[in-house]
């Protein structure tokens, strides 16, 4: 019984432990002598593996019945006077992303161990330090419930990738690293300004007056004691932001989207991604594609949608247009790529367009599909990058013109490539399908978007099938062609070894499982999505009812409803 109580008391420590463990492991790693590669490898692998176990424990302790609630909370004071706190916890949405991150990391490490000396020289421990650092930052970003804490972790993911690309990348690494950092940093600085603006707006809220007039329910006031004070707690800011007018919300949405759209990346600001991906080492590419891009869409979902509902409703069609352009345009770019990594990188942009389109359809189906799509894209694109990386270590080229008919020489590799390519295209029965289907269906049903968007995005699926099948056909089938240029190192022609199969097989199993039985994810995520879309749904509802409220005497309509009605009247484009 005591033991039970003891376990209970440990619960709030679970998430901080999960966040700090990889970081601590990374710092210990730096203390090891640089030539002991074996120790470094084992140390890294076990660190990520134990982090995975911690995440699984957290998932076990997590009460999935109440999956919409934030559980396993922790709360640390940082700078009291600024209202800065390190506050976090997980709901089902965060939990799934944490599981994705921690699941992929050991596999990424496993891949990185082959040819370690060739790839990293004598700086292996630095390499793994930055990877572990990135893992910590990503987990923390998914768990944060305080906006500044989230911002801190979000910025922190930049630093490891900057060094991973810049130090361990290929020829054009310096430029890629600088472009990546500058793009993301510019976006996130604007985001910081937006966050500060919302926090300031919260301090100006006349709370007592609102409670007195009944605009703010008394129990909401009790639940959010710091309303009207300087705080960055997201629940408070979300509530406060509801009192902004349309213009203010539009600026906040613009600022937040500046940060998130660069990270996702959305159509006009996507140009850093192919560069960063082609130059990054495989482990960096996988991290970037599978998890870090999701931080952008996760941020949109978690923070942008509920904070600025009026602006979201106003501008959802514009954003959706950008998404559709992104889907089709980058899909067509994929088709003409010659570099394998670039092809997959552009396909990421195209796929992330689906994700954002789903988010801005603002209904349960589309957003559920979009979240599912994020998870499955993380798995399949990550795995494709791993496959390309494995081939690159053997043949030292990524040019499609140098490669052909690899299926004959590398059958196991070819199996995995085809499998993940089909996942990525969205073959029914594999993990790409449910997400894509639900996103399109939700978009079709969305009052703001409707069938033209669904149709255009549907065309994107066809484009995706074109370029993926073109790539598979070109590289795997046809007459065998292997480069003979050994200037970059000896050409190896053996198929995947046991370690590499161990890297890819778990991902394939999960892909298949998610494709055949997506319900656990969809059902648990749905509850977490509800509170996120309620503000925007309320705005849409108010717009529909705008006329009756105007004509009524307004005595029973609440303060917010009237604001919304007034906004709807004035803010309609």
């Amino acid at each position: 019984m005591d033991f039970q109580a003891f376990l209970q008391s440990l619960q709030p420590l679970l998430i901080p432990a999960m966040i700090l463990f990889p970081l601590a492991g990374g710092i210990l790693l730096l203390l090891l002598p640089r030539h002991e590669l074996h120790k470094i490898c084992y140390g890294t692998f076990y660190t990520t593996f134990i982090t995975l176990l911690l995440a699984l424990t957290a998932a076990g302790v997590f009460d999935w019945e109440r999956s919409g609630e934030v559980q396993l909370k922790f709360d640390l004071n940082w700078i009291n006077a600024f209202g800065l706190r390190l506050e976090g916890g997980v709901d089902s949405l965060s939990m799934w992303f944490v599981l994705l991150t921690t699941f992929l990391m050991p596999l990424v490490m496993l891949e990185a161990f082959t040819h370690l000396r060739q790839r990293t020289g004598d700086r292996a421990k630095e390499f793994f330090f930055w990877l572990l650092f990135a893992e910590s930052a990503m987990i923390a970003a998914f768990c944060a419930t305080d906006l500044i804490f989230f911002y801190v972790c979000y910025e922190f993911t930049l630093i490891p990738l900057f060094f991973l690309i810049g130090v361990f990348g290929s020829t054009d690494r310096k430029k890629a690293a600088m472009v990546y950092f500058c793009y993301s940093f510019t976006g996130s600085m604007l985001m910081l300004a937006g966050i500060l603006y919302v926090a300031w707006f919260n301090t100006t809220l006349p709370v007592e007056e609102l409670v007195a007039t009944g605009a703010l329910a008394a129990d909401t006031r009790l639940a959010l004691p710091q309303l009207g004070e300087w705080t960055f707690n997201f629940n408070h800011l979300k509530e406060a932001a509801q009192y902004m007018d349309g213009t203010q919300q539009a600026f906040v949405l613009l600022a937040l989207m500046c940060g998130f759209a660069v990270k996702v990346p959305m159509f006009p600001v996507h140009t850093w991604l192919p560069l960063a991906h082609t130059e990054a080492p495989t482990a960096g590419s996988v991290d970037l594609a599978a998890v870090m891009l999701k931080l952008g869409s996760y941020g949109m979902l978690r923070f942008a949608l509920p904070t600025a509902p009026i602006a979201v409703v106003d501008y959802a069609p514009f954003i959706a247009v950008l998404c559709v352009i992104g889907i089709l345009y980058t899909g067509l770019i994929c088709w003409v790529q010659k570099d394998l990594k670039k092809l997959i990188a552009y396909s990421s942009v195209s796929h992330m367009g689906f994700v954002v389109l789903g988010l801005f359809a603002i209904n349960n189906i589309a957003i559920g599909g979009s979240v599912f799509y994020m998870l499955s894209h993380g798995l399949s694109t990550g795995a494709l990058f791993l496959c390309v990386g494995m081939m690159y270590t053997r043949l030292h080229t990524r040019q499609m013109s140098d490669l052909s008919g690899l299926g004959k020489q590398f059958p196991v590799w070819a199996f995995f490539v085809i499998f993940f390519a089909l996942c990525s295209v969205g073959l029914p029965g594999l993990n790409g399908f449910p997400g894509e289907f639900l996103t399109l269906m939700g978009t079709f049903q969305a009052p703001l978007l409707g069938w033209p968007f669904a149709l255009a995005a549907g065309l994107g699926m066809i484009v995706a099938a074109m370029y993926i099948l073109y790539f598979v056909g070109k590289v795997i089938f046809g007459p065998l062609k292997i480069p003979t240029d050994t200037s970059h190192g000896p050409i190896e022609t053996h198929d995947l070894n046991f370690k590499e199969i161990c890297t890819l097989a778990p991902i394939a199993v999960v892909c298949l499982w998610l494709g055949l039985y997506p319900n656990p994810v969809l059902v648990t995520v749905e509850e977490a999505i509800d509170p996120i879309i309620i503000p925007a749904e309320r705005v849409m509802q108010a717009r529909l009812e705008a006329a009756p409220i105007e004509t009524a005497d307004g005595s029973n309509a609440d303060w917010r409803g009237q604001t919304l009605a007034a906004n709807a009247e004035g803010g309609e484009p």
Binding site: A81, E155, M189, L190, W230
Partner: protein, 533 residues
């Protein structure tokens, strides 16, 4: 006479540093090598003593220890950062120093060699900063500002062999003299407009003018404008920034680190005190804001300073020049806080007090800048001071610790959380947003993003480049230690900055009555209620 004695009794720390400087002059000239070598320790001891005296005076005044004013806060910062600067200046091992000292005195190069006068000037300049902080009279403020600057002219010029140092010293001296003339002219006009040199009396006169005419007289206003522009030289703000890049590049690196911090602190303190003469006090129960002319002037200077600093920073080939422009840009950010002023402090927490944000940002900026200059000071290309990006190339391979120190300081300057620079930026930007300078914040944010370009260039050189055999580490353990402490400070204060935040929040500016500041934000309340039916 009594007033004089009373005033002197509050100047314990300043007198301590002054005496320390005089002793340095004597010991530096001593015939015995052992005594000469003790000079550094004398300087260090006097800084420590001054720090203790500051704490002691405060404890005496308030019963318990608490940093309860701008003056003691600045004094403590000066003592603390001064110690780090001393480590960086003096971090040359004994043997190297002795041999050169014995050979001839002509080749003096403050980056390599130690001489007594150097430390005397060092301490005199710091004394000037402290005196600035406790100034309560125009004449006093002028003398204190000059005491801060004059020794720095000599410190730049002491590297006798380098023509570049001579050139920059001459530039620095003449432009400094010109700026002194400008703000002295401003002080004279202020005196002419009010008839007093004492801050209290000027403030009372200004209050009377506002009460009767609704605004201060044009002559007082012109005096203020001139004084502000003159002081811009000290903080290297546009339009008085031209000297900065040349002087920072020409001076020996430890001196550059000193220049990037000390005159700047004095300048900002002087600026706060001067602006406090015409605003930020109650008249008829109403809180007086800055006159619109000064608001416009400061707004334009802030925007120009940060933009010019960051854009020109992108174009530099020399790391020292880049960091010089970075320091100009940071002056622009800090000016935002000065512009916001101490007003509008509500019950919402610390954010909103611009002056407190300035006081917080000064050490945050100082530590990071000093650490980055110190790292450059640790490198030599064939005996010459390292300066270009190529000289830093591959630093991470050969001297990982130096590279990591550089990384920490650069990230702090860039404002990446959780380093102290990030907190400083949140503090400054938050205050500016609270004062409704939204566009200023947007410009500052874009500027921060631009600055990423050159800061990353430094990091890219350190981490991505290949090592160059011609570049060696200079055997200066103290300098490395100083850099390490400064960089560690950037992290530690990032997590434990709460203490400083409280200290800056408590820091009452003499004569400025914060309790009169409006508690609620009337404007913004209107804004919220405007959306109501």
């Amino acid at each position: 006479m009594n007033g004089m004695v009373e005033k002197l009794s509050t100047l314990g720390p300043e007198m301590c540093l002054l005496i320390g400087g005089c002793i340095c002059l004597v010991t530096g000239l001593d015939r015995l090598g052992a005594v000469r070598r003790a000079t550094v320790w004398v300087a260090a001891l006097s800084l420590v003593c001054a720090g203790f005296l500051t704490v002691d005076f405060e404890a005496h005044d308030h019963g318990v220890f608490r940093v309860g004013g701008m003056a003691p806060y600045i004094k403590l910062i000066v003592c603390g950062v001064g110690l780090i600067l001393l480590m960086i200046a003096a971090g040359v091992p004994m043997q190297l120093r002795q041999t050169v000292q014995a050979e001839n005195a002509k080749d003096f190069e403050p980056g390599d060699i130690l001489r007594g006068e150097f430390f005397a000037f060092f301490l005199f300049s710091l004394t000037g900063v402290m005196l600035c902080a406790s100034a309560d009279d125009l004449v006093w403020l002028f003398l204190a500002l000059e005491l801060t600057s004059l020794p720095t002219y000599v410190m730049v010029a002491t590297a006798r062999e380098k023509t570049m140092a001579q050139e920059s010293a001459v530039k620095y001296f003449f432009l400094g003299a010109m700026s002194a003339a400008v703000f002295l002219y401003g002080f004279a006009l202020i005196y002419g407009a009010t008839g007093f040199t004492s801050f209290d009396m000027i403030r009372q006169t200004a209050a009377m003018q506002i009460e009767t005419h609704g605004a201060i007289t044009p002559m007082l206003l012109i005096g203020m404008v001139l004084a502000v522009i003159g002081v811009c030289f000290k903080i290297a703000a546009v339009p008085m920034h031209f000297y900065a890049a040349d002087v920072y590049e020409g001076a020996s690196t430890p001196v550059t680190a000193f220049l990037a911090f000390t005159p700047k602190v004095a300048g900002f303190v002087a600026l706060i005190l001067l602006l406090g003469l015409v605003a930020w006090f109650p008249v008829d129960g109403e809180f007086v804001q800055l006159p619109p002319v000064l608001v416009a002037l400061l707004w334009i200077i802030a925007v120009l300073t940060m933009s010019v600093g960051n854009v020109l920073g992108l174009l530099q080939k020399s790391v020292k020049r880049t960091l010089a422009y970075s320091s100009i840009a940071h002056s622009g950010y800090i000016l935002m806080g000065v512009l916001v002023g101490p007003g509008l402090v509500g019950t919402h927490g610390a954010v909103g007090d611009g002056i407190a944000a300035v006081l917080f940002y000064l050490p945050a900026y100082g530590l990071a800048t000093i650490a980055s200059f110190a790292v450059i000071g640790c490198m030599r290309r064939n005996g010459e001071e390292a300066d270009s990006f190529d000289d830093l190339s591959g630093l991470a391979r050969r001297h990982p610790w130096l590279a990591w120190i550089m990384m920490l300081s650069v990230f702090s300057l860039l404002g990446i959380p959780p380093f102290v620079g990030f907190l400083g930026k949140v503090y400054l930007f938050g205050s500016a947003i609270q004062a409704q300078y939204i566009w200023l914040v947007v410009i500052a944010v874009v500027n921060s993003a631009v600055s990423a370009g050159y800061y990353l260039h430094i990091l890219a050189a350190c981490f991505f480049g290949d090592p160059d055999k011609d570049v060696q580490r200079y055997p200066a353990p103290g300098r490395r230690l100083g850099a390490g402490i400064a960089a560690f400070g950037c992290i530690a204060l990032g997590f434990l900055g709460g203490w400083i935040v409280n200290a800056t929040h408590d820091a009452n500016i003499p004569g400025v009555d914060k309790s009169a500041a409006p508690i609620t934000l009337d404007d913004s309340d209107d804004q919220v209620s405007a959306t109501k039916p």
